[in-house]
């Protein structure tokens, strides 16, 4: 089975522009989460979607938005890009829990560079 896929792999944008990142979860997974990872730091939670509804939001400005589609794929949008938005953006999918816990499966990420 294919793992979590993300597109594009790399992206270069200029300040003030808008960007859309895409994620396809593992088949059968209904939850998608987005993370931002700045160089040298751990991933920081941005959003979680489950069954097309937002279920969690991290401490990110309103310039960040996301949505989940009926096929459970997801898009992350970032408006008015700042230099500080340069990071690796990770998508993770998970099933509705099995047993008493759940694990997330991460994609390879999209490397965004803002100049």
């Amino acid at each position: 089975d294919a793992g979590v896929t993300q597109s594009p792999t790399h992206l270069i944008k200029t300040r003030g522009q808008q960007v859309t990142l895409r994620c396809s979860p593992i088949s059968g997974h209904k939850s998608v989460s987005w993370y931002q990872q700045v160089l040298g730091q751990g991933p920081q939670f941005i959003f979680q979607y489950y069954e097309k509804e937002e279920r969690g939001r991290g401490n990110f400005p309103d310039r960040f938005s996301a949505r989940q589609f009926p096929n459970y794929s997801s898009e992350l949008n970032v408006n008015a890009l700042l230099l500080g938005d340069s990071a690796l953006y990770l998508c993770a999918s998970s099933q509705h829990w099995t047993g008493q816990s759940y694990e997330q499966y991460f994609g390879p990420g999209t490397r965004l560079t803002v100049t």
Binding site: V4, S33, Y35, G40, Q41, G42, P43, Q44, F45, Q48, Y50, R55, G56, G58, L88, L90, C91, A92, H96, W97, G99, Q100, S101, Y102, E103, Q104, Y105, F106, G107, P108, G109, R111
Partner: protein, 114 residues
């Protein structure tokens, strides 16, 4: 989510057993302990998860003392390919699903020396 504290970095030689300890003094009753591994320019990869005592899978063991205020990830006979950053996370219980703000710390950078 309970805050975790890990060593910033560790070095070990090939073939040795490596133990990485994580402190989580404020762990809640329903919290699970989960470890992820991350290679450069890749997404984190789930290693192991546990609630109490000891959990073992094909790649690692997780030791959790009775008070659950710490945990130790044990990697047997490490190889060069185990060089990575290892993250300890606390939480992820079923009761929090959907409201979980999965929080990674800075992790432990493990370097395996030939």
């Amino acid at each position: 989510l309970a805050k975790t504290t890990q060593p910033i970095s560790m070095d070990s030689y090939e073939g040795q057993e490596v133990n990485i300890t994580c402190s989580h003094n404020n762990i809640a009753t329903n919290d699970y302990i989960t470890w992820y591994q991350q290679f450069p320019s890749q997404g984190p990869r789930f290693i192991i998860q546990g609630y109490k005592t000891k959990v073992t899978n094909e790649v690692a063991s997780l030791f959790i003392p009775a008070d659950r205020k710490s945990s130790t990830l044990s990697l047997p006979r490490v190889s060069l390919s185990d060089t990575a950053v290892y993250y300890c996370l606390v939480g992820l219980h079923i009761s929090n699903f959907g409201n979980e703000k999965l929080t990674f710390g800075t992790g432990t950078r493990l370097t395996i020396i030939p």
